[in-house]
Amino acid sequence: MTKLVVSVLISRNNKNKMQKEEAFVELIKQNEGLIFKITTMYTDHYDDQQDLYQDIVYQLWKSFDSFRSESKISTWMYRIALNTALTRIRKKKRFGNSVSIDQVILKQTENYNQEFEERLKLVYAHVRKLNVVEKGLIFLLLEGKKYEEIAEITGLSPTNVGTKISRIKQKLKQQIVKK
């Protein structure tokens, strides 16, 4: 997080619109990958993904003023992004427009590797098979969050998070074996 973002968030009296916009743009730029990962996980189709992406940015902007610096900015972002994903209306499935992570995520980077992308596709395919609660939990786990932080974002107790995650691991294992 840049110093600019921190200074605007901490200073509640800062009403300079330009500065607020700059801070917000900076925040989104730094976290566009995070939003992308959530939208890819919660949608099946390209248009749907684009809509959700915009919805998340819009919700983050709407609540940007109300963000309090006492909670971690990443916790706030995960919470808003995941909650937005939960409350959207799904578009009807259409043919030929499904989100494939190749051509979308990594092709533009210098390190493009087809095998790596194939394996990523597999990860997404397994995660997408989980239900909405499991999806949120596994996403946060893959993001490297500790049980306490997952509990803070989800509202479940850390023990409950642990139990559910071990169940999800089992489920994923079975899915993978089946394949």
Binding site: I28, Y58, L86, K91, N111, F116, L141, L142
Partner: protein
């Protein structure tokens, strides 16, 4: 593939995504200006148009209620009017609740529970609507036959053609209602499963 391997892949992907900046300042600010794909708004717009049609019918029925000169036709008129008023009002109310659902100060669990409950209310109303329309199709036919043609729907003599048409309508409405009910039931069951998961 083990979970640890998934974690490693995910982490690699995150690193690569961090290098790949796609959004420009303009695009980001455009996203904050307007939700040009607000699907709730679209749905609410359709429902609002539907509500205006229902209210127009309601006003028309109030103005012509004196033409319903038997107790059963008057009963049909009242049932139709109640439906034309209550159903759109409740639908718009539940839609508004979903549209204005607050997500900023809630955690994942609270959003899931609250949103699914709001959705379940709307679905239950739609389910009732599907069955109510089954009745209203007849009450409204009786009412309009009387108002427009001064004919008593229940007393009028019908030929084979009319009875066939009536039977065909009934079958059609039955299958439509059953399909609608199953769709709503499926969504409601999925919502219930999620709530159970959180208990």
């Amino acid at each position: 593939m083990e979970i640890e391997e998934m974690k490693a892949l995910w982490s690699d992907m995150s690193n690569q995504l961090d290098q790949q900046k796609k959004l420009t300042n303009d695009i980001i600010m455009q996203m904050t200006q307007e939700k040009y794909t607000n699907k709730f708004k679209t749905l609410a717009n359709y429902e609002t148009i539907g509500a205006f049609v229902c209210f127009a019918i309601l006003i028309f029925l109030i103005l012509n209620i004196h033409k319903l000169d038997t107790w059963y036709l008057l009963g049909c008129g009242i049932v139709t009017m109640v439906f034309m008023f209550v159903f759109p009002v409740l639908t718009l109310r539940y839609l508004r609740k979903i549209k204005q659902f607050e997500i900023v100060n809630k955690n994942y669990k609270e959003v899931l529970v609250g949103f699914h409950k709001a959705k379940a209310n709307l679905l239950n109303l739609q389910k009732v609507g599907v069955f109510a329309s089954f009745i209203v199709i007849f009450t409204s036919a009786a009412v309009f036959a009387k108002i427009f043609d001064d004919k008593d729907f229940f007393m009028v003599e019908r030929g084979v053609k009319e009875y066939l048409f009536l039977a065909f309508t009934l079958v059609l409405v039955f299958f439509f209602s059953r399909w609608g009910f199953r769709v709503y039931q499926k969504v409601a069951n999925a919502a219930e499963a999620v709530l159970k998961e959180l208990e």
